[in-house]
Symmetry: C2
Subunit: 160 residues, 2 copies
Amino acid sequence: MSAHLAIAVQSVISAWKSQNKRLDDMIVKYADEQWMKETAPDRNTGVYLLGHLTAVNDGLLSILGFSDKLYPQLENIFLFNADKAGLEMPSVSELKTCWHKVNTNLDAYMAKMQPEEWFTRHTKVSEEDFAKEPHRNKLSVLNSRTIHQSYHLGQLAYLG
Amino acid sequence: MSAHLAIAVQSVISAWKSQNKRLDDMIVKYADEQWMKETAPDRNTGVYLLGHLTAVNDGLLSILGFSDKLYPQLENIFLFNADKAGLEMPSVSELKTCWHKVNTNLDAYMAKMQPEEWFTRHTKVSEEDFAKEPHRNKLSVLNSRTIHQSYHLGQLAYLG
């Protein structure tokens, strides 16, 4: 295994952690009432985006083959439905707890992975497809989620 | 060179290109008047963010050691100063031209790079520091810029 491979993997993981840290910091900074506001007129609320990002990270536990989702009940509210669909949402306080719990679990599983394991297939791609499309690996899923998270962090910044 | 290394590099480059494509699509979709609007009340205008992202990509030509910046005059307006600082901005039409020209150049230089070259130091880190911090390489700079771009794309989506 080349040193460069370990560096590449570490760089993607660091970027992922940095984005999570930015949301951690917003959780400290914004009062619960701020999370209830829209990020811009007629756009997603903070609480919806907090639930959405939590549900996406929870999905990583499954996609990366670590465990089942911790909070599968978040899927319907925050992944399959848009904000303001009239569904009952968990409180901001509950979502913060879910967010931290999911990330603590992800960190623990990731810490045990060897660099080469990041190049194995994620659970949403079949062995057959993966043989033809080796870029559909765990590392690229993690990086996609990092980029997705940053997109919504740019919106959540507008709550401040 | 391991096949995984080439896959890791390609994955980061693909993510970078996908984000550029999203801004390309917005350029097609939004009329020039839309770019002049604020992305949310009292927040950055579309035109400022377009200039900002263009200036950041232009900086990559230099940081990655490809060439000098094509439009160094954008730095002061879009990197060193915030929106609404009272500086004269190029028109939306001019910025679109700069955006495409910068990315065309970046693509041409990137196409010539071998995977291993992405693990060499970028021009903002000294040889001495790089020896101690090998993660400060070209690939991680590109990925940071991808994540940064996505952050602002989330805001630019609010123009639509």
